[in-house]
């Protein structure tokens, strides 16, 4: 109940059907990964979205029309991703829902754009989901994830607020997201008066993470900023860093969220920080978020990372666009409305888009700190307004 009330009060009104006639459902065709490396990101977002949709449908849906998710597991295979998206469109999808990495999702995104269907990713973390990568066709593409400029800016602010004035930056070159986020951190940090004392990189799976940590350990920086994912190299990197005597803060992106990857040594898993969408450690400051987590846990779908809130957030955005379009599902019109979102309140926080920026910028983050092996919520932190 708390979640339902919060979602309604967040600005997304739920229209209740007064008629008894069954109206045609709104079909969201989800082409996501349920078996491969994107599963930890795609699946919790979808599961949380379904919980929200169930509540929405129970109160009448959108203008009397229920939302129905039809899901295809693309297994991150490019051809299957494309054919699944074609199958989703053939099945009458009014909205296409895609995986949380733009490289993997592109074959599906292009099918959605060609079919002139609103194409939404819950948590793509680059700013490529939109016109910046797909040109004018990309006007129909949106992500409810945070843009890397935001990620970089919030990390810079975190360091400056704590008086950590020098940083060693380490980038995992596996994904464009990591590269861009670290670049954006560096420019924001320098702009805020910080100093980058070293820049280094590895690529996940290349076996060099420990060697890079060895170089960083003696850099003398106040903090190490790491743009990388959790497995396979993060535990190795952290262990090497701490073993070599560097106990200074290690700060990272949402991709470090979850805590499941932490080494068991309490001296190693200490003084580690990251910025994320929600705390999955039972202490999120938002009542609706905690209620949603509880519902997911009750269904045996306990989320590992805070990205799950982007799922219901994306549904809220889709619903609002449909309502503002008076129930019309024309993809081009829905996209034009969505591009005008300004501080739309969702369960994941405030969502804004512009005609050229179709990934969320400026939303507040939860800062998580690991102390003696225990992750916990520390504070809300905003990256500041666009372009700051």
């Amino acid at each position: 109940m708390a979640l339902s009330l919060a979602l309604v009060s967040s600005g997304v009104a739920v229209a209740t059907s007064s008629g008894a006639a069954v109206k045609k459902p709104i079909i969201v065709g989800a082409v996501i990964d349920e078996t491969n490396t994107m599963k930890p990101f795609d699946l919790p977002a979808l599961q949380a979205a379904k919980i929200y949709v169930d509540q929405l449908n129970a109160t009448g849906g959108v203008g009397g029309r229920k939302i129905v998710f039809k899901v295809w597991n693309d297994q991150l295979k490019p051809t299957l991703t494309r054919s699944d998206a074609l199958a989703a469109i053939a099945a009458g999808a009014n909205v296409l829902w895609v995986s949380c990495d733009v490289n993997y999702a592109t074959p599906a995104i292009q099918v959605g754009l060609a079919a002139k269907v609103l194409t939404v990713a819950p948590c793509i973390g680059t700013d490529q989901m939109g016109p910046s990568l797909f040109g004018s066709a990309g006007k129909l593409a949106f992500s409810f994830g945070n843009a890397p400029q935001s990620d970089g800016a919030v990390l810079a602010r975190l360091l400056i607020n704590h008086g950590w004035k020098t940083a060693a930056v380490v980038t995992d070159k596996l994904l464009a997201y990591f590269v861009t986020a670290c670049q954006d951190f560096s420019s924001a940090f320098v702009k805020d008066g910080g100093q980058i004392v070293s820049q280094s990189s590895f690529t996940s799976f290349d076996g060099t993470a420990a060697a890079v940590a060895g170089n960083v350990a003696t850099s003398g920086a106040d903090a190490t900023v790491l743009c990388a994912t959790t497995t396979p190299d993060l535990p190795t990197f952290v262990t090497a860093l701490r073993t070599l005597g560097n106990t200074k803060p290690l700060v990272g992106l949402w991709s470090m969220d979850g805590g499941f990857w932490e080494p068991t040594s309490l001296t190693v898993s200490n003084n580690i920080w990251w910025a994320t969408f929600a705390s999955v450690f039972g202490d999120d400051p938002s009542t609706p978020v905690r209620a949603l987590e509880a519902k997911m846990a009750a269904k045996g779908e306990t989320p590992l990372t805070g990205g799950f809130v982007t799922g219901p957030s994306a549904v809220q955005g889709i619903v609002l666009a449909i309502q503002r379009n008076h129930g019309n599902l024309n993809g081009t019109k829905l996209a034009a409305i969505m591009a005008k979102f300004h501080n739309v309140s969702t369960i994941s926080g405030s969502v804004s888009f512009t005609p050229t920026q179709h990934t969320v910028v400026g939303r507040s983050y939860r800062i998580i700190e690991v102390t003696n092996g225990k992750p916990h919520f520390v504070q809300m932190l905003s990256p500041g307004p666009l372009g700051s």
Partner: protein, 369 residues
């Protein structure tokens, strides 16, 4: 006469298999046609692998490099120039402004694949055995890194997008047909027969003056051309390309197809590509639910990979030379028919041959059982 029938069968068999798959695929939904098209394109890559690995006996993990080069070249030069200039601002100017047709991009893919393979081959093909295999794997790694990070020739870690989708089911079939004809024509050449001799006994072959390096280089270059051509087909099938799509997964998938089909024959390459492709595609789709008559089958997520793995192991245990036995289509039929007494149509193995006929017989012994 029988030799000519056998020759015709060697070519017609694989082409007929492609035609059957294409006709069957044309009855399916648009979405499923995409999967069938992918099977044809992937089989084209397997044929490219066969041309080198099958004929030389040297396992190559690097042929996907040539697929990648073909795919990226074709993708970049056919994507809208405005998209390129926006997404890839650091491109060399000629890459940023040159626009070619989709057909030309297929030829370009083949040409670049051949050129790249030739250059790599000049350096690597003096190696043998495991060293050669690891060296080709290193080429794959280098290609992946260069394409991922050198933003003057590509989009770096981002995908190439908005590439025209022109590899339809029919185009995929035509592309594979061309690859089969080229592979067939090559394996009829003297150079290929000499290469096969080096595969069977390198020391003896060298002893009679055969240059292993020269004939491997020819096969490697032709293989690179077919691989680059397949890469161009691939990018026009997907409408986009990123480096991860032409890397280790595709390398091992296509090698598995070749090994399961039978490394020693063109028919094995085609059969392996189609058989494993169909199986893998069916099982992947079954994870989303498929109807078989009145039955609706839904496999648990992830099970398709396990089943494909188990089937591969079973096939390799019971048919170590692959499901084709490394024979060409109907080869055993023609090889085993006894001659009628007094007709002059003796079995090939014992018949006297004219000079012209003898030049058509492989130097290396073919498996006959």
């Amino acid at each position: 006469m029988r030799s000519k029938f056998r020759l015709v069968a060697e070519l017609v068999g694989p082409l007929a298999a492609v035609a059957i798959v294409t006709v069957f695929g044309s009855t399916m939904s648009i979405a499923q046609q995409g999967n069938v098209t992918n099977i044809l394109v992937t089989t084209t890559i397997v044929v490219a692998l066969y041309v080198f690995t099958g004929n030389s006996g040297v396992m190559s993990f690097g042929q996907i490099s040539f697929v990648a080069v073909g795919a990226f070249a074709a993708g970049i030069l056919t994507a809208p120039t405005l998209t390129r200039q926006a997404n890839m601002p650091s491109l060399f100017k000629f890459l940023s402004t040159t626009q070619i047709s989709n057909f030309d991009s297929l030829l370009l893919g083949a040409g670049l694949g051949a050129l790249f393979a030739f250059l790599v081959g000049v350096v690597l093909l003096r190696l043998s055995g495991l060293s050669a295999g690891i060296a080709t794997f290193a080429v794959l790694e280098i290609t992946y890194d260069v394409l991922s990070y050198w933003d003057k020739i590509g989009p770096g870690v981002m995908p190439v997008v908005l590439v025209p989708v022109t590899t339809t089911l029919v185009m995929g079939a035509l592309g594979l047909g061309v690859a089969i004809v080229v592979a067939f024509a090559y394996q009829r050449t003297r150079s290929c027969r000499l290469l096969r001799a080096t595969r069977e006994d390198a020391v003896a072959a060298q002893g009679i003056g055969i240059s292993i390096f020269q004939h491997r280089l020819i096969a490697f270059t032709i293989s690179g051309a077919i691989a680059g051509f397949a890469g161009a087909l691939f990018v026009h099938e997907l409408g986009s390309i990123s480096t991860g799509q032409v890397y280790i997964d595709l390398t091992f998938a296509t090698l598995a197809m070749l090994v399961v089909g039978g490394t020693g024959s063109l028919w094995g390459a085609v059969l392996g590509g189609i058989a494993l492709g169909v199986l893998e595609s069916f099982l992947s789709n079954a994870e989303n639910g498929v109807a078989i008559g009145s039955w609706h089958v839904t496999l648990p997520n992830g099970l398709s990979v396990v089943i494909v793995g188990v089937i591969m192991v079973v096939v390799l245990i019971f048919a170590p030379k692959g499901i084709s036995g490394s024979h060409e289509f109907l080869e055993r039929f023609f090889s085993h028919r006894p001659a009628k007494a007094g007709t002059g149509t003796e079995p090939e193995s014992t018949a006297k041959m004219t000079d012209e006929e003898s030049s058509e017989v492989p130097l290396s012994p073919r498996p006959t059982s």
